[in-house]
Symmetry: C2
Subunit: 201 residues, 2 copies
């Protein structure tokens, strides 16, 4: 068998390049040529890994989504001794890509989100990520409710609320309407109110 190349590692490198370019100039700033330069390989190699540009972008968005949920999970297992309520706070804080060090990921996510609004296959991949996060949130809320904090809450609905709020905050920080500080304050207040009093009729 002739020479072999680690395709997976190469794909990961390409995905990283896609993210870097998306962060700088949006999704329309991502060209195959620039990706090749950023990944330090040739255009031909990029085309060997992904037959079309769309295929490449789908792989990249999956990578980003996975990275975000992985980070959330890591944050949870890193501080296991606390209550489910504080764990949810940490998780929500990670999902709202508000902090400066995650600004890049936020830009990437928003770019893919907008594209997904007009590209059904992309939307499918995004939904997968959203569903995972919502499920995670719901489980934490349920756990907290079982522990006595915030009993009477509808876990699914609260999870949806938090996820949407985190997304909206991310976007508004990105365009500069909210400061990082204000967004965190909003999120904290929402969590506090959640635990304080059950909602619903």
């Amino acid at each position: 068998m002739p020479r072999q190349v680690d395709q997976e590692e190469r794909r990961r490198r390409i995905a990283d390049a896609v993210c870097a370019l998306t962060e700088e100039g949006g999704l329309e700033g991502v060209t195959l040529r620039d990706v090749a330069v950023r990944a330090a390989i040739s255009l031909g190699a990029v085309q060997r890994c992904f037959r079309t540009k769309e295929e490449m972008l789908l792989f990249a968005v999956e990578a980003v989504g996975g990275r975000i949920t992985a980070r959330v999970r890591a944050r949870l297992t890193a501080s296991p001794a606390q209550s489910a309520a504080t764990a949810l706070g940490h998780a929500a804080g990670e999902v709202a890509l508000v902090r400066a060090e995650h600004r890049a990921e936020a830009r990437i996510w928003l770019a893919f989100l907008a594209q997904a609004a007009v590209s059904p296959p992309l939307a499918g991949h995004l939904r997968t990520g959203y569903a995972a996060l919502q499920g995670l949130f719901a489980r934490l809320i349920e756990e907290a409710a079982a522990g006595g904090t915030g009993a009477g809450l509808d876990p699914e609905r609260e999870a949806r609320t938090l996820l949407a709020l985190a997304d909206g905050l991310t976007a508004q920080v990105l365009v500069g309407h909210l400061t990082e500080r204000a967004a965190e304050e909003v999120l904290d207040a929402q969590l506090a109110r959640m635990w304080a009093g059950p909602s619903g009729p």
Copy 2:
């Protein structure tokens, strides 16, 4: 004086064409040629109205933002007899472009939002729209608090919360993660909880 043309009316027609195209294929599906076709004028005429493409897009986003806030205001003045609390409910419902008939505007808004993350001038125009809506929300909340409903709330923070939540819900409905029904339920529950109990430490 030689022949004169109503430039303003033409600009509005062009903005409408931009919106229609954005709705169909995202912002990158908007080309000067297609805009000209949609507006039923020639490419030369488009270039006469706007010196560059960016100038055209800025005008369009301003038009969309204005239309949304105008719709919210209209909704408020249309049902003046009710309390500030229900008025806020209506306003938030309009901002969260959840209903099917506003799906188009939602797509447009999201497209511009993503672009704004990498284009400072565009971000500026968006901020204007956000500030107007947040101010409106804050005023309504304050009014309701003065009337006794939901006293003790921080109007600015609640306004920010509602706006971010509405934005996030819009996006998640758009990618199909939430149904229109679920989004409305989340929004209603949030409003109910707001009036029920003050937040904060």
